[in-house]
Symmetry: C2
Subunit: 181 residues, 2 copies
């Protein structure tokens, strides 16, 4: 990656057995174990991100929420959604695109972005395969759910990580930050 | 589990993407990242265990080592090995058995065991499914290997865990201890 390339950053919660959602996308098991009195650092994480990139799966989960939770432009990478209009309520907040991860990062760079929050299992996997992730904050939830949508997937080769920090919370969450080498 | 039942205890290392070995059993990626100057607590863990229970996969890996590394009786649960003789060099140290996890724990109890170290991915999965694991020490290695033998597998239902402690090491390992609820 050149110096001026947009960097990808991950902030995601995962069950101890590596799932970010059940097979049908359900994350109630995760929300039920979120202790709102604990500060897990999301606000600090998002503060220096210009844009949020997610896949269709994450977008469709978030679009169900009563209120749109993001105060950053959201780019949804989806072949399926790219030909459809953005819902009126999300105009100016969301764009659909069929670009590949590399192309999307180049476009974001042309638009002046520097640091992109990459969200969602499939998208994180694609960006990891392409070497587009600079660092990851992974919060492990103390539950085994046995099956679902995995955070990680196949890779062309091993990816070494440098542990930057790790901390645990009274709720039992363990949050570790890694830099990709 | 009754009070007198033998309890199962896990102490295992896993890649950040959840594998304990490559598909062919190779753990060179793990050994290469082990810093022998760090005390990861194995001696403390094993001190109060009476017996080690493992599956064929783990046994065959360990049997390749130059020196047999265990100073506890080892019970290998394997339909395939159960009908074969234990190698002469391991006589008195290893037993092969075709018992199920529950039957094996009952037999160990009759023999006076109290705390069993359960090792190996397939076996840990079986013992978890049967509710035979009391606690787990999971050491996460800072690498993504993309594929291999997973630590965790399918479960009949969610398993809640209580985080007992978590610590990290300069080498980048993160070690978390969980009690099964």
């Amino acid at each position: 990656m050149g110096e001026r390339m947009v960097t990808g950053h991950v902030f995601i919660a995962v069950s101890l057995d590596g799932y970010i959602a059940r097979a049908d996308g359900d994350i109630a098991w995760l929300l039920a174990r979120d202790d709102p009195s604990e500060d897990h650092g999301y606000n600090e994480f998002i503060a220096d991100k210009d844009v949020i990139v997610m896949g269709r799966g994450s977008y469709e989960q978030v679009a169900k929420f009563e209120a749109w939770p993001y105060n950053r432009p959201v780019l949804v990478l989806s072949q399926q959604l790219a030909g459809t209009p953005v819902p009126e309520s999300l105009a100016g907040k969301v764009r659909f695109s069929a670009l590949s991860p590399v192309e999307a990062m180049k476009e974001l760079e042309r638009q002046g972005a520097r640091r992109a929050y990459i969200d969602g299992g499939q998208l994180v996997q694609s960006f990891l395969r392409e070497g587009l992730i600079a660092d990851m904050v992974i919060t492990t939830v103390p539950v085994l759910i046995g099956a679902g949508r995995p955070l990680f997937g196949a890779l062309p080769e091993d990816r070494d990580l440098t542990l930057l920090s790790s901390r645990s919370f009274p709720s039992g969450l363990v949050q570790s930050s890694y830099r990709l080498q």
